[in-house]
């Protein structure tokens, strides 16, 4: 049986107060359990998205690096480096927040990073088609990397909140509610004991009075 709360006097008033505290604790426990369940399902969904995004990003980056190596083999590293200096490198992203049950997770939006060959800015005559393929694959990979950054941070924030909520649920389930219940039981037993003591005392007083009356009449 759980420990009882120290320093509580065994009175009916305290028992009523404890009853109210138990109701409040149980309501809180139910709500927190719902929150924990909801957080866990959000967490599992985001973990799945992390896995998907990571797999896609890895696949696209592998393809892009393969094309880059081929382009370097065909054109030479210096020529590829020169081409890379011609193209614009800025990607505009907008980082905002989304609130999932009190957990702030990032929401990253960006403009389309895929460009046409003309927009990339290098000449077609002195470059290999592999450069185009590498550029296209890198652009596609960037989208997945941005998505991955968003969901990865969400996973971390959600995991922290799941741990916190779980701790609270466990504290209520295994410490607070059992302690309150045990104290209520203790008070109830103490009150019953006091009632029995009182009853015995009254019987003894009655017997003493009756014995006194008998002695007077005799």
């Amino acid at each position: 049986m759980a420990d009882i709360i120290e320093g509580i006097s065994p009175t009916r008033m305290e028992l009523l107060k404890l009853g109210r505290r138990i109701v409040l604790a149980e309501k809180g426990y139910k709500l927190l359990k719902e929150k924990r369940d909801a957080l866990v399902s959000e967490f599992l969904d985001v973990v799945q998205r992390v896995q998907d995004s990571r797999a896609r990003a890895n696949e696209k980056l592998a393809m892009a690096f393969k094309d880059l190596l081929t382009a370097q083999a065909v054109m030479g590293s210096d020529a590829v480096w020169q081409v890379s200096q011609v193209t614009g490198q800025d990607i505009r992203i907008d980082i905002d927040t989304m609130n999932i049950m009190g957990v702030k997770v990032p929401m990253i939006t960006h403009q389309d990073v895929k460009r046409s060959m003309i927009d990339r800015g290098y000449g077609f005559a002195d470059t290999s088609a592999m450069v185009d393929d590498a550029a296209r694959n890198f652009e596609e990979a960037i989208e997945d990397v941005i998505k991955l950054a968003e969901v990865q941070q969400s996973v971390e924030n959600l995991a922290n909140e799941v741990i916190k909520t779980k701790r609270r649920v466990n504290a209520l389930e295994y410490i607070v509610i059992p302690r309150l219940t045990a104290t209520a039981i203790h008070i109830r037993m103490r009150l019953a004991e006091m009632e029995r003591e009182n009853f015995t005392r009254l019987k003894k007083i009655k017997a003493a009075i009756e014995a006194g009356k008998k002695a007077e009449t005799a």
């Binding site: 505290r21 359990k33 399902s41 969904d45 907008d94 927040t97 989304m98 609130n99 999932i100 009190g102």
Partner: protein, 140 residues
């Protein structure tokens, strides 16, 4: 009220701090470049434009005027009365949206519907920023 109970009461109140102070209409949100609502805890909650467009596509054809009054985010009410992880959706227009997303057969218009965990997950996957959980205490 003793300190334990005060802490507990405060914790229960803070469960819904992520809800918006005021929900905004679909029309208002669609008109913005960065649609967002302000939460009770002062933070801002951004809603993805694609999700708003999905909702607009669902209701746009049928609801006309009423669609302009639709307020977002859509609330998923977690009520312990209906069992563990059961959620309630209230409002005819909101039920219509949820039914369409869950591909449920629409026999007649309903004002309230109860959905369970797998459906809640599907709904959240479809509209992660346009929906919010609400934690409600049991009425019993």
């Amino acid at each position: 009220m003793d300190s334990d109970s005060r802490v507990l009461a405060r914790m229960m109140r803070s469960l819904n701090d992520h809800l918006p102070e005021e929900r905004r209409t679909l029309k208002e949100l669609l008109g913005e470049d960065k649609p967002r609502v302000v939460c009770r805890d002062g933070s801002s909650h951004r809603i993805r434009k694609e999700e708003l467009e999905t909702i607009e596509r669902i209701i746009g054809r049928r609801w006309g005027e009423e669609a302009e009054r639709l307020r977002l985010p859509l609330l998923i009410e977690m009520v312990p009365d209906y069992g563990r992880s059961a959620a309630r959706i209230r409002g005819r227009i909101y039920c219509e949206i949820v039914q369409t997303i869950l591909h449920e057969e629409k026999k007649k218009a309903i004002d309230e519907m109860i959905i369970f965990r797998p459906d809640v997950r599907r709904l959240r996957r479809a509209l992660p920023s346009a929906t919010q959980y609400v934690f409600m205490t049991s009425t019993s």
